[in-house]
C-alpha cells in the first residue's frame, strides 16, 4: 500500500452529479421542492447561517458536549478495560453484565437519563458517555488479553513491578486495539449527542435540525445536516491523522508481516 492517498476525482464527480440531479429535480417539481429544496438554496441558507453566526452557537454546543462525553468515556473505558483485561477475576465478576448491556441500543437509555438528570447538558453528556464506553471497553479488554505472556515475563525479568508493567508494556501493547475502540466510539458519540439534543435541549445541532423541521424551514434543516456531516467528517480525519502518527510502528507490521 502506498502511503499517499490519491485524490479520488471520480468519487467527487459522482457526488457532484447527484447534487446536480437533486437541483434539477427540485426545480422541476414544486411538490418535490417542499421536501427537497434545491441544493443551491440550501447552500445559500447555510451561508446565511454561517455569516449571521446563528449556527456557530449550536455547533459549539454540540462540539463541547461531544468532547466532554467522548473524553470522559475514553478515560473511563480505557482504565476500566486495562483493569478488567489484566485481572481475570474482576472481569469474571462483570462479564455477564457487560455482555447484557453492550448489545442494547444505547438510545434506549435516554428516557432513564432524562428521568435521572432532567433535560440539560448533564443528560446529553451522560448518554454520550454511556453509548461510547462499550466499544472502547470491549476492545481495550481484548487488547490487554492478547498481550503476549512472554512480553510480560520479559518486563518482569527486567525488574518492572505490576504498575510499571501495566503502564509501559500492557498499555502500549494493547494500543492498536484501544485505538480501534476509540475510532468506533467516535461516530457513536456523535450520533448520541445529536440524538439526545433532538430529544432534549435548546441548543446544539440536533436541536437545530429538528427545530427547523418543525418550523417548516427545510432549507435550514438541510444546512444543519450538512454541518453535522462536516463535523463527523472532520473528527474522523483528525482522528486518522493522530492514529497515523501514534501507531506508525504498527502500520508496516500489519501490511508487510515480519521478514
Amino acid at each position: 500500500m502506498n502511503g499517499v492517498k490519491q485524490f479520488n476525482w471520480i468519487g467527487w464527480l459522482v457526488l457532484a452529479a447527484l447534487l446536480c440531479l437533486w437541483e434539477y429535480g427540485a426545480r422541476s417539481s414544486p411538490k418535490l421542492q417542499y421536501y427537497f429544496p434545491p441544493v443551491s438554496q440550501i447552500l445559500y441558507a447555510l451561508g446565511q447561517l454561517i455569516i449571521s453566526g446563528r449556527i456557530a452557537a449550536h455547533l459549539l454546543a454540540t462540539i463541547s458536549r461531544f468532547l466532554e462525553g467522548y473524553m470522559l468515556a475514553a478515560l473511563l473505558a480505557v482504565s476500566m478495560g486495562v483493569f478488567l483485561g489484566y485481572f481475570r477475576f474482576a472481569y469474571s465478576l462483570l462479564e455477564t453484565l457487560i455482555e447484557f448491556l453492550r448489545p442494547m441500543p444505547s438510545v434506549a437509555i435516554v428516557p432513564v437519563a432524562v428521568l435521572a438528570l432532567g433535560i440539560g447538558d448533564a443528560m446529553i453528556v451522560a448518554v454520550t458517555i454511556y453509548a461510547s464506553v462499550w466499544p472502547m471497553l470491549v476492545n481495550t479488554i481484548d487488547g490487554v488479553r492478547r498481550i503476549e505472556p512472554i512480553l510480560i515475563d520479559t518486563a518482569r525479568t527486567f525488574g518492572l513491578g505490576r504498575w510499571a508493567i501495566l503502564w509501559r508494556v500492557v498499555l502500549p501493547g494493547a494500543s492498536p486495539y484501544i485505538v480501534t475502540g476509540l475510532r468506533i466510539s467516535l461516530s457513536i458519540a456523535l450520533i448520541l449527542v445529536t440524538t439526545a439534543e433532538m430529544i432534549a435541549g435548546s441548543r446544539g445541532l440536533g436541536f437545530f435540525i429538528l427545530d427547523q423541521e418543525r418550523s417548516f424551514n427545510s432549507r435550514n434543516m438541510y444546512a444543519g445536516i450538512i454541518v453535522v456531516a462536516a463535523l463527523g467528517y472532520a473528527l474522523n480525519r483528525l482522528f486518522l491523522a493522530l492514529e497515523n502518527k501514534t501507531l506508525r510502528w504498527q502500520r508496516g507490521m500489519v501490511a508487510g508481516g515480519s521478514v
Binding site: E148, L151, T157, G159, G173, W249, S258, V259
Partner: protein
C-alpha cells in the same frame, strides 16, 4: 562465594486433567562469577522450567535459588532472562534504539550517557545502522541480537539464556554464537545458557551440566577447557571436541 546457587530445586505441575507432571527432579549446582555455563538436555526435559525458576518467574515446588547470597523470591535485580522467542519478547512499538534503551530505563538510568551507551551496545551486537528500525523490519537473527543488547543494557551480573539461538538457521546461529562470546569476553558477565544443541554447548561453555529427561536431573558435569578465543572451524575440529560431543550424546541417549 558462587554468584548463583541452585539448591535441591524441583518442580511439579498440575495439569488440566489433574495429573501432575514432574518437570525437574532435584537439581543442585553452583555458578561462579564470570563463568559461561550451559545446561544441555533433550527437548522437553524441563530446561525452560528450570531457567524460569532461576529467574524467579515461577516458583519451584521445593528447593531454592540463591543469587549473590540472597534467596530468590520473584525476579532478582541482578539477573535477566533472554527468551528463545525473540519475536515475542521485543517491544513492537519501540524502535531498536528504544528496545535497547529499555534495559537502561529498567535500571533507572536516564541521562545523556544512556544514549551513547545504547548506541555502543547496538554496535557491539552488530546492528549499527538499524537504530531507527522497528523489530518487524529485522530478520530473526537480528531480532535476537536486539534482545541480547537490551539484556546487556540492563547490566545484569547474570545473564540467563533459554535456547536463544534455537529457532535460527544454522549459519545465523554460528554467527550469533561468536557475537555472544565476543560480548561476554568484553563485558565479563556471568552467563547461564540452555540448549539442546550439544556442540553449541561445548563451543560456548566453560562448564556443561548434562540433564536427563523428565524429571530432569544433572547426570554429568563436564569442564571444557578449549582455549579462548575459540574459533568455529578450529575449535570444532579438535579431536577432544568430538570425544566430548559423543560422550554427552551417549549420556543423553542412555538417560531418555
Amino acid at each position: 562465594m558462587p554468584i548463583l546457587e541452585v539448591q535441591n530445586l524441583s518442580k511439579s505441575y498440575r495439569q488440566l486433567r489433574g495429573e501432575s507432571t514432574h518437570a525437574i527432579g532435584n537439581i543442585t549446582c553452583q555458578v561462579e562469577a564470570g563463568e559461561f555455563v550451559s545446561f544441555v538436555g533433550p527437548s522437553g526435559c524441563g530446561k525452560t522450567t528450570l531457567l524460569m525458576s532461576i529467574a524467579g518467574l515461577i516458583e519451584p515446588t521445593s528447593g531454592q535459588v540463591i543469587v549473590k547470597g540472597r534467596a530468590v523470591k520473584g525476579p532478582p535485580p541482578d539477573l535477566v532472562l533472554v527468551f528463545q522467542e525473540y519475536n515475542k519478547s521485543l517491544f513492537a512499538w519501540r524502535t531498536i534504539l528504544g528496545n535497547v534503551r529499555f534495559g537502561l530505563e529498567a535500571r533507572g538510568v536516564r541521562s545523556s550517557r544512556s544514549e551513547s551507551r545504547t548506541r555502543d551496545l547496538i554496535e557491539l551486537v552488530g546492528l549499527k545502522g538499524f537504530e531507527k528500525h522497528y523489530p518487524w523490519e529485522l530478520s530473526g537473527g537480528m531480532q535476537q541480537r536486539v534482545a541480547i543488547a537490551r539484556a546487556l543494557a540492563y547490566e545484569p551480573e547474570v545473564l540467563l539464556m533459554d535456547e536463544p539461538f534455537g529457532s535460527l538457521d544454522a549459519l545465523t546461529r554460528l554467527d550469533l554464537e561468536d557475537t555472544l562470546l565476543r560480548v561476554w569476553a568484553e563485558l565479563k558477565t556471568t552467563i547461564l545458557f540452555i540448549t539442546h544443541d550439544i556442540e553449541e554447548a561445548i563451543y560456548l561453555s566453560d562448564r556443561i551440566w548434562v540433564l536427563s529427561g523428565r524429571p530432569s536431573q544433572i547426570i554429568q558435569e563436564l569442564s571444557i577447557d578449549f582455549p579462548r578465543p575459540r574459533n568455529q572451524v578450529e575449535t570444532r575440529a579438535e579431536a577432544r571436541f568430538m570425544i566430548l560431543r559423543n560422550e554427552i550424546y551417549r549420556q543423553i541417549g542412555h538417560a531418555s
